[in-house]
């Protein structure tokens, strides 16, 4: 008992802090969703039957799925080069992974705007080179949002992947090569399957993180590719319909919780023989 009480005391302040900053506000939102403007599940009914809201949900899911696939795939390559490269290459990649953390979301979104917009660098170059006659629209649409979000999220996918790749027993790869397997085969049949738990972990982090994105879609989507977080913002601060905003938030939270539960179950090392 004495052994238990010590960490409990140390953890206490953190638990209180998390409770105050997460649980209490969430309970508040839960209450709004069933009390504003009047008690009942009316707001949920409204949210789930409004075609606009449903289309935003659907778009959010679609964008997040694509962003997750793009970020995790890109992060896999980056991590592979990072973990298995020489010292110089490793340092260089480390630098590239860490730098984005020092630059705000806003700055990066505007950076992409400067690159991708109709009068941006890429369109100007391509037009002056004669490759394009009309500017390619790469922002104010889902493409821009996906590019901006993926760029932001890649570093977050790198860390779970790196830990999976680092924990992999080098000798297993040597064993495969010794049995005559070439690099390609070793990668596809041994390395990738063995790092799959890391891939799922990275995908989960990226996907959940992406669901709550607000600034990047707002800037690079230009109001056309509204995602769920922006919608909540609009319902709460502009309409204002606090009850509806709260209900959308709760639906999102419930979705995330379900997804995490399902994935945790899938990732846990199976006891099936």
């Amino acid at each position: 008992m004495r052994n238990l009480s010590k960490p409990a005391i140390l953890l206490g302040p953190l638990l209180v802090f998390l409770c105050l900053t997460y649980v209490v506000p969430f309970l508040g939102i839960l209450r709004w969703s069933v009390t504003l403007p009047e008690p009942g599940l009316g707001q949920y009914q409204a949210a789930l039957s409004d075609p606009l809201i449903l289309s935003v949900f659907w778009r959010t899911l679609r964008i997040c799925a694509v962003v997750t696939a793009v970020s995790v795939a890109a992060a896999y390559v980056v991590t592979l080069l990072w973990v298995r490269g020489g010292p110089v290459q490793r340092l260089l990649i480390e630098f590239c992974i860490l730098i984005p953390f020092w630059i705000s979301v806003l700055t990066r979104a505007f950076g992409w705007l400067a690159l991708l917009s109709n009068k941006g660098l890429i369109n100007t170059w391509l037009q002056s080179l004669g490759v394009l006659s009309e500017p390619l629209s790469m922002v104010r649409n889902e493409f821009g949002v996906i590019v901006g979000m993926s760029h932001f999220l890649i570093p977050f996918a790198v860390f779970p992947l790196a830990s999976a790749m680092r924990n992999l027993d080098e000798r297993v790869l040597l064993a495969a090569r010794g049995m005559g397997a070439g690099r390609q085969r070793v990668f596809w049949t041994v390395f990738l399957p063995m790092t799959l738990p890391g891939v799922l972990g990275a995908a989960l982090i990226v996907f959940v993180f992406a669901l709550g994105f607000f600034v990047t879609p707002a800037i690079l989507g230009g109001g056309r590719s509204v995602m769920i977080a922006e919608l909540v913002y609009l319902r709460i601060f502009q309409s204002p319909n606090w009850g509806l905003g709260a209900a959308i938030s709760v639906i999102l939270m419930a979705g995330v919780a379900l997804l995490m539960g399902a994935l945790m179950r899938a990732v846990r090392p199976g006891d099936k023989s």
Binding site: D169, R171, V172, L174, A175, A176, R177, G178, M179, G180, A181, G182, R185, T189, V190, P193, M194, L196, P269, S273
Partner: protein, 369 residues
């Protein structure tokens, strides 16, 4: 092979494979300024069971990795069946390898692990099936084929690693301390199994171990490494009876090393002096050195000076009864400790610590080291 021997499980099923002959000429390996291997030259004959033995850090694993092709030597040449393979990649050499810790594919079942090298070789599904079953049977894992490695005990994982490494009939099987994680009992069992598998497959084995008994029990020849140098390579018997140098003598088993005051040559034998006592040492082709080594079990105890062979006076320090054998610790007049291992019934009745006795040994049992 005697005709009366009962064929063990695997022997009828496995064809004798074409075992490889390895040649290493002056293999050296440096890591930065550190020399891990220095001019290793040896050959491993077809179907031989060679054990690499040496203290930690002596370069055994490094040498094995170079044989497998996972590391390139800094200098020297490697041949397989007379062909230069120094620059051949690990996948093209295709040596079987069993690592310490087994290195099984954790996401594949036992069957899939064993089938892996066969799939690499693009054998037909039916062949793969048959061979996998055969190997599972050979290592005694029938009924475990669908399990993942994590669901197996250490000994069972060890067998899977062995089956996987042998499934595709590699010309050479390399094993790096494959039993180090097993308990004593299981080790003994696996050693018997290893001997059987070596006999049945006829493959060339190169085996690394820390365990001297294991090395002596399994190998056709033993190579002793120290500080990246090959100290001696010979049959277990030869190494035990005629160690080439003091390191080998002291490393393998117990031995008494007696420093000599002087040595003179006389009639093909050497006349040496140990603490005023004259000794005769057989030369068997070597040059005299300043010490002679004698195994504890080659020495005997006498209450009076023996007429034959070498003998030095000593006083008994300690008597330890070990069952069939008794271990005696003695000291010469000059204080040199001596260890004897004699059959318990040969211990004179009433022998107690402090007794003054003679320690003798035949001339041909002492070697210069």
């Amino acid at each position: 092979m005697t005709s009366g021997r009962v064929a063990s499980k695997g022997s009828q099923m496995l064809d004798k494979v074409t075992a490889g002959e390895i040649g290493a000429e002056g293999i050296g390996k440096t890591f930065g300024h550190f020399t891990a291997l220095d001019g290793i030259s040896l050959t491993v004959g077809r179907g031989e069971f060679l054990t690499l033995l040496g203290p930690s850090g002596s370069g055994k694993t490094t040498f094995l990795m170079i044989l497998a092709g996972f590391e390139a030597p800094t200098s020297g040449r490697l041949t397989l069946n007379g062909l230069d393979v120094t620059r051949t990649t690990a996948e093209d050499r295709g040596f079987g390898m069993v690592f310490q810790g087994y290195a099984l594919f954790p996401h594949m079942s036992v069957e899939q692990n064993i089938a892996f090298p066969l799939k690499v070789q693009k054998r037909s599904a039916a062949q793969i099936r048959a061979r996998t079953d055969e190997m599972i049977e050979m290592v005694g894992l029938g009924g475990h084929g669908h399990k993942k490695p994590a669901a197996l005990s250490g000994g069972q994982q060890q067998r899977v690693a062995l089956a996987r490494a042998l499934a595709y009939e590699p010309p050479v099987l390399l094993l790096d301390e494959p039993f180090s994680a097993l308990d004593r009992n299981l080790r003994g069992q696996m050693q018997d199994e290893m001997r059987r598998i070596h006999r049945d497959t006829g493959t060339t084995f190169v085996f690394v171990t820390h365990d001297q008994e294991e090395a002596l029990a399994l190998s056709t020849r033993v190579a002793i490494f120290n500080h990246g140098r090959l100290q001696q390579i010979a049959t277990p018997r030869e190494i035990y009876d005629h160690p080439d140098n003091r390191f080998v003598a002291e490393f393998l088993g117990d031995i008494n090393v007696l420093p000599l005051a002087s040595v003179v040559m006389q009639e093909g034998a050497a006349q040496a002096v140990f603490e005023d006592v004259p000794l005769r040492v057989a030369l068997d082709g070597r040059d005299p050195t300043e010490a002679v080594a004698v195994r504890p079990e080659h020495m005997h105890l006498a209450l009076a000076r023996p007429a034959e062979g070498n003998a030095i006076p000593a006083s008994v320090r300690e008597i330890v009864f070990l069952g069939a054998e008794t271990r005696l610790t003695l000291a010469s007049p000059g204080g040199q400790p001596l260890v004897l291992s004699i059959p318990s019934e040969a211990v004179p009745a009433g022998l107690v610590p402090g007794a003054e006795v003679w320690v003798g040994w035949p001339e041909d049992k002492g070697v210069f080291v």
